[in-house]
Amino acid sequence: MRILLDKFSKSFGSTKVIEEMDLEVGSGEMLALLGPSGCGKSTTLFAICGIHRPTSGRILFGDRDVTGLPSQERNVGVVFQSYALYPHMTVAENIGFPLTVRRMAAANIRKEAAEIAALVHIDNLLDRRPAQLSGGQQQRVALARALIRRPDVLLLDEPLANLDAKLRLEMRSEIRRLQKETGITAILVTHDQVEAMSMCDRIAIMKAGEIVQISTPSEMYNDPRTAFVAGFLGNPPISFLKGMAEGGAFVFGNSIRLMLPALAAIPDGAVLTLGVRPEHFGTSGDVQVEGKVAFAETQGRENLYDVVLPDRSVLRSIQPVRNDVAVGDPVCWSLDSKAALVFAEDGRRL
């Protein structure tokens, strides 16, 4: 089912958290709301599921306006960051709770709970209590509880934040699998760009209550609209160089010049920021840059280097493992100027 936010605003007292947000999530799509902590992701999610009333604007599920409806009448499934399992109920009772409050017969509830539990692989834990479960198992219970009533919409608020790295990986594909199997429209709230990129069809990146860009993960990575988006996506992150345009070249530091075709149309003297992703600086490229290795780290398959340029700005580089470069060594590596991203002074991409 399609979700539509139309000029949605939310304030708490005098604090405006979200202002006039427009967002459309297509039917069966999984969308990530990505942004730093405190930017209003949970607030948006809570408005969609009806816990918060919007200050103004409309929320539509399909063609139905649900703005004024209480949570109870929206048919949404929510997985909370803390899971919010009911500690006094068994796993089966937790999962079946949405059916219990609909006064379904106990035997049917048990049957459906067992079915959905099998879907998330916890059918052997039905009689445990939440306190007797590991984090990953609790997570699955929360998922099962959100799915049992076949909701129109599945909302996930930082569902993986409390899991350890290995479980996070496992649950990432698990949640995506369930979303695809059930064909449900889902919104995933996260501050982790890896999660957003790996799990979702599209990403809406938020900053201070506004959506900065909505695109598919690869589009957003390769074609970010602002420096903020470019900086938020990618691990290891993009490096930024500050400089100015001069005759079609990017000049920074004490007259280090990089000839960039993209700058041909930029007037001389414009203050610019150049973003270079680590994979675009290293063994192949068209512009040579000299510097000194300040930091080196191996990640097994790849090595990560920080190279300090003469003006003390830093470029990151990621390369296949090599043993001929150590910290302190002077290097002259190539930069792929066609892949470099140019941003205006206000962060807009040029």
Binding site: C49, A84, Y86, V101
Partner: protein, 433 residues
């Protein structure tokens, strides 16, 4: 290891001594007192042997003849009496003949003694006979003996030849000090008054607890939970007032409300009802107000405990249940109440005990009246042992009543623990991963 254990014992010693002195000792003393017949009459130290009419009455049930004999006069011709007769300076032959012929004789009645005196050779006049016989009147009634020995010696002189069983009975009947006895418990078990007081107490505790200390407190906690924070705190503060008002003033306000020239009477007067004392007019009214007075005080504690327990439930559980489709009523039933099991147990237990033990509000309002309609167990114990109309304070019986209260409290607590399945509340979850 050993030193640390010793150190621990030393550290705990002051507390342990305090507990022993101020918590355990009163219970032990109560138990000790409850097995005696101590009262104002017996005193709490030892007593004497006093042949009172009451003592004779006590003896009458088992040994009616002996009792009548002891109560009746006795005339004994003894040296003491003869010496007194000589001092009267009547005819000297009278004393001499009595000493020579009749010394040691005992007569069960004045008539028999006077027949002998009349028959003396010196022939006393009728008036003299009466005076002389008086000198030999040796009744034991209304005399006090410091020891059992003295009592029995005196009786022997009066011609009572008592067997050991009779001696025991007489000593027991005339002893004024306290003795060990289980009679208090028999009294409690058999007296219909006590049964009525027991029923009063059960009614008072059950109704106050159910409708106010737990029921109303729960209602307040739940309603304030769904109110805006500011409104809720005002509401809670209002319900705390009865608790923080000094009880004397609080009860006085209820009296102003219910007296025959109080607010209720004035108000009802507007509709033509004659003024009356709504508090003491009849038993139903008295119970109604006694329960309100106590309930309004008691509800505040439960309200606070339940409110904070509800606050301790993470907010996301409420969000989650709303999203899951639960109405408020279902939230209360499925989310809140199950998680309030322990606080409800605690409040029920605590308030049962305090309702059983405390009587100050009742004492200050109805004094157990009208009649003994609102007399509850603890108040009755107080009246029996410390404050009663006859002036004979029965410490022993009062202590026995208090002990019964303690036992009932313990039994009820154990029942509550079972009913609320305390074991499952404290059992550790099995954590495996």
């Amino acid at each position: 290891m050993r030193t640390s254990r010793t150190l621990g014992l030393i550290m705990i010693a002051p507390a342990a001594i305090m507990i022993l002195l101020f918590f355990l000792m009163p219970v032990v003393l109560t138990a000790v007192f409850s097995l005696t017949n101590m009262s104002t009459a017996t005193g709490i130290s030892g007593g004497a042997y006093q042949v009172t009419q009451a003592a004779v009455n006590r003896l009458t049930t088992d040994m009616p003849e002996l009792a009548a004999a002891i109560a009746g006069p006795r005339f004994v011709i003894d040296e003491e009496g003869v010496a007194a007769l000589e001092a009267l300076k009547l005819k000297p032959g009278l004393a001499a003949e009595l000493r020579a012929e009749h010394l040691g004789e005992v007569f069960a009645s004045r008539r028999e003694a006077e027949r002998v005196i009349k028959a003396l050779k010196d022939r006393p006049s009728t008036r003299e006979v009466k005076r002389i016989s008086d000198l030999f009147n040796r009744s034991v009634l209304n005399t006090r003996f410091e020891t059992r020995q003295a009592l029995l010696e005196s009786l022997r002189k009066l011609g009572f030849n008592l067997g050991p069983e009779e001696q025991e009975a007489v000593a027991k009947a005339t002893y004024t000090g306290w003795v060990w006895t289980a009679d208090n418990f028999r009294t409690i078990g058999n007296s219909p008054d006590m049964a009525q007081i027991f029923l009063n107490t059960a009614f008072y505790v059950a109704v106050t607890l159910l409708f106010f200390n737990v029921g109303y407190a729960l209602f307040l906690a739940l309603t304030t939970h769904y109110m805006a924070a500011a409104t809720a705190s005002i509401f809670r503060a209002v319900w705390l007032l009865p608790r923080i008002t000094p009880v004397v003033i609080y009860v006085l306000m209820w009296k102003w409300l219910t007296w025959d020239n109080g607010f209720l009477s004035l108000f009802m007067g507007q509709f033509g009802y004659p003024p009356r004392n709504y508090l003491l007019d009849n038993a139903q009214g008295a119970w109604f107000f006694v329960i309100l007075i106590n309930g309004f005080i008691g509800a505040s504690m439960g309200m606070l405990v339940f409110s904070s327990a509800i606050k301790a439930i993470p907010e996301t559980q409420f969000h989650a249940s709303e999203v899951d489709g639960a109405s408020r009523w279902q939230q209360i039933r499925y989310i809140i109440l199950p998680q309030l099991r322990w606080p409800i147990l605690f409040v029920t237990c605590y308030q049962t005990l305090s309702l059983l033990a405390s009587f100050n509000e009742i004492l200050l309002s109805t004094r157990g009246g009208p009649g003994r309609a609102t007399e509850v167990w603890s108040l009755a114990a107080y009246h029996t042992a410390l404050q009663n109309y006859t002036g004979n304070l029965e410490y022993g019986l009062g202590a026995a009543m208090a002990l019964v209260l303690v036992v009932i409290g313990v039994i009820l607590s154990l029942i509550y623990l079972r009913v609320f399945r305390y074991d499952t509340l404290i059992s550790k979850p099995l954590i495996e991963d």
